[in-house]
């Protein structure tokens, strides 16, 4: 009987890539681990509960479904908590770390398109008044192929558990889905799988039922997304920090552009350098950040990481055009260990981010709907909801008071009526009684209590200007209090909108 640790170790290491895309994947995984299907599902549930894995699902290639970037800021230490909190609060920020450097806040942002991404970074700058360095990816050598928990061995090689036995070489490797033109079904599929597949006997059938399609379509679509390289890998996403790999160093170099590719390719081809989990070239941000080449190295302790950095530095050599031998030791580098983890969650690409869509819906509804046979069609399209869902939101929001009203806003002045603001000075002991009296008039459209001697403020909306005088007289007679009429003499602006 093998011990539990070994199951865990293999479960975590062997299925980060090429998780079987079949109807009963946990039966397959179980048969390899030496467990039955139920035990296997239970094992992964336990790992999820213990926060050792976040999900079993896709890792998308960055800048394919949307746009993403690594960003950095130089935050004065006394402001770090405040600024880090703000950055973490944005749903588009998926990782946020403090690192050991004067440029000390490092975060990854993902958005539906490049413009939105820039807007988010601008927003952070405007809010914090600190420059945000946008370190866009320029070339990748190794990204997120999985996290090797057992550096003595390689991550498990490709297994053929797929509907199509072999990957199709004809499929374009640079297929991108522009977020504006993604087919609806793919959109909904991404929304479902990006948070992870359910840990059940038939997870893809469960997803199929939710989306009202059949299981084959789900599996074929995921296959397609993998073959087109939209999905970089499909499998167990481990939380390396919870598994003890809490020392993570981002090592950066300033390498001449013409040498970067060669160096990057050498590193990822070198079997002794498997501890380099990520390796890429990014844009510089001069003058503050003069580095363009990045290697991420994770380890259980600082000494281990430093030793690996030394090994990496010594191993890579090449010849430049002048036939001089150069190595990584010839270039300026910095080592930025991570300190505090402010946020760590998977990137969300789906347009169906419900919260964002709901906010957008609330704002669009305030702009208005047209006079048309299907007046909700445009708003439905813009938010990703169906027309029925839009109406349900309106009904819910009317019920819970988020909206006071939904419909035509009449300007009575256009057809001979009048809006008049009126103020009254109401003794506090009589407030409730006077309030009931004033509110009983249908012509009283709004009524507010305000902090002033004149403490009751209401708007009279009448369809004929003459009526205003008469109503005010009635109110004065009924309450024995003076009314102060404050009609509009001139209107300079009227535009009531609230950003959700």
């Amino acid at each position: 009987m093998k011990n539990a640790c070994e199951y865990v170790s293999r479960a975590l290491n062997n299925y980060q890539r090429n998780f079987p895309l079949v109807a009963r994947p946990f039966a397959i995984v179980g048969s390899e681990l030496g467990l039955d299907e139920q035990e296997t599902i239970a094992l992964f549930c336990k790992l999820k509960e213990e926060n050792k894995i976040t999900r079993i699902g896709p890792v998308f290639k960055p800048n394919t479904l949307g746009a993403s970037t690594l960003a950095a800021m130089q935050v004065p230490p006394e402001r770090l908590t405040e600024v880090a909190s703000f950055v973490s609060s944005l749903p588009e920020v998926n990782h946020n770390y403090e690192r050991e450097n004067i440029i000390n806040l490092w975060f990854v942002t993902t958005a539906n398109d490049a413009q939105k991404l820039t807007e988010i970074l601008d927003r952070i700058e405007q809010h914090t008044l600190i420059k945000v360095h946008d370190l866009r990816l320029e070339e990748e050598f190794r990204i997120d192929l999985g996290f090797n928990l057992n550096p003595q061995t390689e991550l498990r090689p490709i297994q053929q558990f797929r509907l199509n036995a072999k990957p199709n070489p004809e499929v374009q490797s640079n297929l991108t889905f522009d977020s504006n033109s993604r087919p609806d079904f793919i959109e909904r599929l991404i929304a479902e799988i990006e948070k992870g597949i359910p840990l059940t006997e038939k997870p893809f059938e469960d997803i199929a039922q939710k989306l009202n399609v059949n299981e084959d379509e789900i599996l074929a679509a995921i296959n397609y997304l993998q073959e087109s390289r939209t999905i970089r890998r499909f499998g167990v996403v481990v939380r390396h920090r919870e598994l003890g790999y809490s020392n993570n160093a981002m090592v950066v170099w300033n390498i001449p552009d013409d040498l970067v590719s060669e160096i990057g390719q050498k590193i990822v081809a070198e079997p002794n350098l498997q501890f380099v989990s990520l390796c890429y070239k990014r844009r510089k941000s001069l003058p503050a950040w003069n580095y363009n080449f990045y290697c991420m190295i994770h380890g259980k302790n600082r000494e281990e990481v430093m030793a690996n950095i030394e090994k990496l530095t010594q191993t890579i050599n090449l010849q430049n055009l002048n036939l001089q031998t150069l190595g990584l030791q010839n270039f300026n580098k910095q080592i930025l260990f991570s300190k505090t983890c402010f946020k760590q969650k998977g990137a969300r690409y789906s347009k169906f981010d419900k919260q964002t869509s709901e906010k957008l819906l609330l704002n669009l509804l305030q702009e208005g709907i047209p006079v048309a046979d299907e007046p909700y069609k445009a708003i439905a399209g813009q938010t990703g909801f169906t027309e029925d869902e839009v109406l349900n939101y309106i009904k819910t929001w009317l019920n819970d008071g988020t909206l006071s009203r939904f419909g035509p806003m009449f300007n009575v002045e256009k057809f001979g009526g009048e809006f008049t603001l009126v103020a009254m000075q109401v003794p506090s002991e009589r407030f409730a009684e006077v309030n009931d009296c004033v509110n009983s008039f249908t012509e009283v459209a709004h009524n507010y209590e305000r902090e002033h001697e004149l403490n009751m403020w209401f708007v009279l909306a009448t369809s004929e200007a003459e009526q205003t005088k008469h109503i005010l007289k009635k109110i004065e007679d009924q309450t024995q209090l003076k009314t102060f009429s404050l009609p509009k003499l001139e209107e300079y602006y009227l535009n009531l909108r609230f950003q959700a």
């Binding site: 048309a372 299907e374 988020t402 006071s404 009203r405 009449f410 009526g417 507010y448 609230f498």
Partner: protein
């Protein structure tokens, strides 16, 4: 220019002043309810929008629920010769939702310019008031912010089809 409304217009207004029917094809619903061809319903609403009888067909938010709990009516006593020019300038500020000139009622009420400023906190509203103050400079003799404490009623315009106290 005053728009004259005929009986059908008045019926449409009475039916929709508390809200549009919440169906996917609301103008069709209205047409069925009132026994009118849908093209006529749409034509009349188009007319209302074009002439400004209806500002727009939209959601009226409850700003308190959306977090804008500081609702500040800023009021200003401005030199009369300057009010139009300054009023337009203040009205153009993006955080001012309503801006009007209104009469004074001395001595209790010396203010002639109203500018509604909404914010999530009183501090936010006060900062915005300072912006207005700076713009008005010496032309402003006094000012105040009146925060609303409670919304006592918010129904919008209602034509005289309901019972209760009324002009009639």
């Amino acid at each position: 220019m005053k728009i004259t409304l005929d009986d059908t217009d008045k019926k449409l207004i009475a039916r929709t002043e508390s809200g549009l029917p919440l169906t996917v094809r609301p103008y069709h619903t209205l047409a069925e309810e009132l026994g009118l061809p849908v093209e006529e319903v749409k034509r009349r609403f188009d007319f209302f929008l074009k002439t400004g009888v209806i500002r727009r067909i939209a959601a009226v938010p409850n700003h308190y629920k959306m977090g804008y709990s500081a609702n500040g009516m800023t009021v200003w006593d401005i030199e009369d010769e300057k009010i139009t020019e300054l009023g337009k300038m203040i009205g153009a500020l993006d955080f001012v939702t309503h801006c009007y000139q209104r009469p004074r009622h001395l001595p209790i009420w010396p203010y002639n310019l109203f500018a509604m400023v909404h914010g999530k906190t009183k501090t936010e509203v006060e900062e915005k008031k300072k912006v207005i103050e700076n713009l008005l400079g010496d032309y402003c003799r006094s000012s105040q912010i009146l925060y609303s404490k409670r919304i006592l009623k918010k129904t919008g315009f209602r034509s005289q089809t309901q019972k209760g106290n009324s002009y009639v």
